[in-house]
Symmetry: C2
Subunit: 167 residues, 2 copies
DNA sequence: AGTTTATTGTTAGGTACCATAATATTTACT
DNA sequence: AGTAAATATTATGGTACCTAACAATAAACT
């Protein structure tokens, strides 16, 4: 998603303030700095996954399967847990199946259903990524103390719980 | 971007820990909570903009133009400040121009160049959005004290400055 | 038992947001 | 004058979504 690299300068803020006198500059700047940082972190994760030949969509589907008993789940369940439509899940499954990382297994009790399951190859792939992923995430997060992390996450949760103020 | 709605449960974490004993659970959970919050905030902004008939890409281009003297800038400059390629900018400009929000003005001194400028309609559109946007962002951010915001942003900046640890 | 309703997953078609590579035009350099 | 560099666009393609319509099946109702 497009997001400005260039944060507002004091000059451009003065300009904005002149045209929109009621603006709360501090709030608007804080907000964009927050968005910018979030986006940078997400993009860094993209880059890490790309090194392992994965993209975010497929990655999170694999992680969801890893969490399940038998490493398997239904498309509907995956859709709910991933927060996308079933139609979107179909695409991800197609792509993962094409690489042999998951299979569609027919449900014996209900012929409408499929069980999506990690293959041995899929699990092997995760084994080759997750330890490295864990280590790097741990390295990154350890640049903050536990207290700082608590405070940061607590603030973020406060914001999230008030997001209806934007709508 | 796909991002899990479903955060890990203690059960799934135990499972993960069994398979990957070196995992730093706290770090991995903190990281996904951070991503989840960031994504929620970004999506809430999408929703706010959608109400005004805009999407993030076009919105940020308009904001960039608003910051410039004469509300105008070159495609190359916009590309740099937005952090996308010039080819991508061409698409955004096409779309904005189709709605009459910006114009392409030929540069009199260099016939390769165009100046992208907000139209009166574009400015009117911003005038109809920005005060509302400002007010809502201000409302949202005011759920945190200035100190909390400072701490949160400072922590985020620390993380961003160490992102090379992921790569 | 037969009909309607609901559920499951896929397909079809479309949009937004990006990238790379190739191209045309124009300017700058030597 | 000839080559190199810069500017913007087009062409092409990929990822990540969506909605709406569909086919198959199962469940509920009468």
């Amino acid at each position: 998603m497009l997001l400005l690299k260039e944060l507002p300068t004091s000059q451009s803020l003065q300009k904005l303030s002149a045209r929109y006198p009621t603006i709360n500059i501090r709030a608007v700047v804080d907000f964009i700095v927050l968005l910018r940082a979030s986006s940078d972190i997400s993009q860094a994760l993209d880059k890490l996954l790309a090194k392992h030949g994965l993209l975010q969509g497929r990655w999170w589907i694999l992680i969801l399967l890893l969490r399940q008993t038998d490493y398997s789940s239904s498309p509907t369940d995956l859709a709910e847990k991933a927060g996308v439509t079933k139609a979107s899940i179909t695409g991800f499954i197609d792509s993962l199946q094409a690489e042999g990382l998951v299979t569609r297994v027919e449900d014996p009790t209900d012929r409408r259903k499929y069980v999506i399951q990690l293959t041995a190859l899929g699990l092997k792939k995760l084994d080759s990524i997750v330890p490295d992923y864990n280590h790097k995430i741990s390295e990154l997060m350890s640049t903050l103390s536990l207290t700082e992390r608590d405070q940061m996450l607590s603030s973020l949760k406060t914001l999230v719980s008030h997001l209806e103020r934007l709508g």
